[in-house]
């Protein structure tokens, strides 16, 4: 069985049996108010909003990975390709009930894309028609931070960013994920 199929099964099974649910609209609208609040606090400076969303996501990722591990009880991945399947088929399934497509691998197996056919965070959303938001705001940027935070906790430093978004008028919503390095264990502080 390929790691993708296996991951799919784990994800489906967990979603059905181990995940406490809430109304999707509560999550969607709550996320919407967070982004709206940031746009207000940063006075429409969308670059700053993107940055803040990524930071929030990073904080969430650091927590979320523990919930992921507690629920899934999966071990360490053998390689980055397996990690990608785990993210898409298990991670996104149990937290957002979607499974974005993993594709566009580089030959060194260190970079891939996630294509989102569905994005519950962006249901109900239309970007402001101010001539800038569609060029500057990555509405779902929190997801990039979530991946960075979550993977850092399992010793992978990655970089993630959106390259397209249907909210911007693109035909797809695509996130690019690159492995920077594996992180070494931190040593105990020197005995004084």
């Amino acid at each position: 069985m390929s790691s993708a199929t296996k991951a799919s099964r784990i994800g489906e099974e967990l979603w059905k049996t181990r995940v406490d649910k809430v109304n999707a609209e509560l999550v969607t609208l709550t996320y919407g108010t967070i982004v709206a609040q940031l746009c207000q606090d940063y006075d429409g400076n969308y670059q700053e909003v993107n940055k803040q969303l990524e930071k929030m996501g990073y904080n969430i990722g650091m927590r979320l990975i523990e919930d992921f591990l507690a629920k899934s009880n999966v071990g360490r991945c053998a390689n980055f390709r397996e990690t990608a399947d785990m993210i898409s088929k298990v991670g996104f399934r149990i937290f957002l009930n979607i499974a974005p497509t993993v594709t566009n691998w580089t030959s060194d197996n260190n970079q891939f894309s996630l294509i989102f056919d569905e994005n519950p965070l962006a249901d109900f959303v239309e970007l402001p028609d101010d001539g800038r938001a569609q060029d500057e705001l990555w509405f779902s940027n929190i997801l990039c931070g979530v991946l960075r935070g979550a993977l850092e906790m399992v010793q992978m430093q990655i970089e993630a960013h959106f390259v397209s978004d249907v909210l911007r008028g693109d035909d797809t919503t695509e996130m690019r994920v690159s492995l920077v390095r594996y992180i070494e264990d931190e040593m105990p502080p020197d005995e004084e």
């Binding site: 650091m62 990975i65 523990e66 919930d67 591990l69 931190e186 105990p188």
Partner: protein, 166 residues
Amino acid sequence: MVVYSFYIFDRHAECIYKRRWLPRPASMVGSKSSRPTSEASAPGLPATLGQSARTTDDDAKLIFGTVFSLRNMARKLGGEDDNFVTYRTSQYKLHYYETPTNIKFVMLTDLKSPSMRVALQQIYINLYVEYVVKNPLSPAEHPGGIGVNNELFEESLEQFVTRVLS
């Protein structure tokens, strides 16, 4: 069985939680056998284990150094996925559980205790993740233990150790 103490270390090698249960003196044990009384550890309290008067801070450092080395040795000899589960001395048993996020759970018990690996995993899944990780008022990481020692976590840990384990 008796649980002596419990520690959590984070990925920065810092002790973010410690708790010690003091066993009653033998004369007071009586009918309830060796059920531990629960007294939150206070730094500077003399250790009851052995004759030493080390502080719990010192204990935590020693324990971290020990499990860190043991775990590394286990991996060197047994492969990347190998890990040690427990070791015992003539005085106590140390139980170890490590998450893929490098959080380390350690429990010291008496020699009669069965394996605590599942118990430690349950503490991680049902107590740590639910009450520390998901608590908005706890920070995402816990320098100096901030946020781990919240009421929900401590009370449930207390219940788990005194009611479920003993």
